[in-house]
Symmetry: C2
Subunit: 150 residues, 2 copies
DNA sequence: TAGCTAATTAACAATCATTGTTATAATATA
DNA sequence: TATATTATAACAATGATTGTTAATTAGCTA
C-alpha cells in the first residue's frame, strides 16, 4: 500500500470522495502487519471515529484491492484477511492453532519457478503463493492445545 | 485415499456403518482427480443412488478427512474442494478464470525447505502448500474473458 | 430370520462471512 | 452556498456449511 497521502491522491484522481470512514480505514491499514480481518478493521475504525458500517469497510477494502493498494488473502481459515504489503513479494505463515498469519519473505525465483513451469503443462502461471502451515511462537509456548484467544 | 474396500474396512474397524450413501460417496471419490466440491459430489451421488442429503455428504467428507483419507482444499474460491489424493505429496494449480484446480507434483524439499525454515523464525513448520494461480488450458484457448461454464 | 439398539439419515433451521438494495447524508466544485 | 454526484447506513439477502431432532437403517444377536 502507498502512504496515506498517496492514497488520498489516488482517490481524488479517480473521482472518489475523501470521507472520514475511508481515511480511518487507510489509517488502520497503514503499515499494518497483522493481516486483520474485515471485522477487526471495522472494530478499530469504530474506536477511532465512532461510527462505520461493516458494509463500508468491505466496500473500501474491495476498492483498495482493485486499485492494487492492498492484497486480499484467503488461507482457508474461513475469513479473508487484508494485507497492505503489496510492494515486497512475500508469502504467508499460518498458525494451525490460532489462525494468525505472518509474512515470510521467500525468493521463489530461478530454479523454483523453472521447476514449477516444467510441471504445469499448458497452464499459464500468473503467480505463485506459498502457504506454510504450522504453529506460531505463541501457540508453541502454550503447548498445542486448541485455544482461540489472541 | 485408500481403495474403496480399504475404506470399508476402516469404517468397520471404527464402528461406523456401511450405508449406501457412504458407499456412493466413496465411489465418487475413488481415483477422482477433479477436485470436486461438496455440491458436485452430492449431484453425482444423487444420480447414482437417487437420494442423499447435502448434509450427509458434508458429514462423510469431514469424517474422511479426520480419518486422513481425503484432503479438504480451500484455495480461496469460496468453496471447499475435496481431494482423495493423500498419498503423493502434491500442490495445486488454480485457474483464475474458471476456478478449476489441477494437481501439480513439486518437489518441495532440500534447498527450498531449508530456505523456508531459515526465514520462518520461531514458527514450527508442519507443511508447505504451494498454490499456483493462472489460466488453465481451456481458458487460455478461449481468450481470457470471464466465463464460468465447464 | 426377526428383533434390538446404536448409528445414520433427512428435513429443516441456523450460522457466518460477505454482498445487494435503497433512502439518506456528505463531499467537492462552481 | 447550492448542486450534482458519490458514499454511507440500515437492512435484507445470499451461499456455503453446520446444528438439531425425529425417523430410519445397519449390523449384531437370539
Amino acid at each position: 500500500m502507498n502512504s496515506i497521502s498517496n492514497l488520498v491522491d489516488i482517490y481524488r484522481l479517480t473521482n472518489r470522495k475523501i470521507t472520514p470512514q475511508r481515511l480511518a480505514i487507510f489509517n488502520v491499514l497503514d503499515s499494518n502487519t497483522d493481516h486483520p480481518t474485515a471485522e477487526e478493521i471495522y472494530e478499530q475504525v469504530k474506536s477511532q471515529i465512532g461510527n462505520v458500517s461493516l458494509k463500508t469497510v468491505y466496500q473500501t477494502l474491495n476498492e483498495l484491492e482493485s486499485l492494487n493498494q492492498i492484497q486480499i488473502i484467503d488461507v482457508g481459515t474461513g475469513t479473508s484477511r487484508y494485507d497492505p504489503n503489496v510492494n515486497q513479494s512475500h508469502h504467508h505463515l499460518v498458525c494451525q492453532n490460532c489462525s494468525k498469519v505472518k509474512d515470510i519473505e521467500l525468493d521463489i525465483s530461478g530454479e523454483m519457478l523453472k521447476a514449477f513451469g516444467q510441471n504445469s503443462g499448458e497452464f499459464k502461471i500468473d503467480r505463485v503463493e506459498v502457504v506454510i502451515r504450522g504453529l506460531c511462537e505463541v501457540c508453541l509456548g502454550k503447548g498445542s492445545s486448541k485455544q482461540s484467544e489472541l
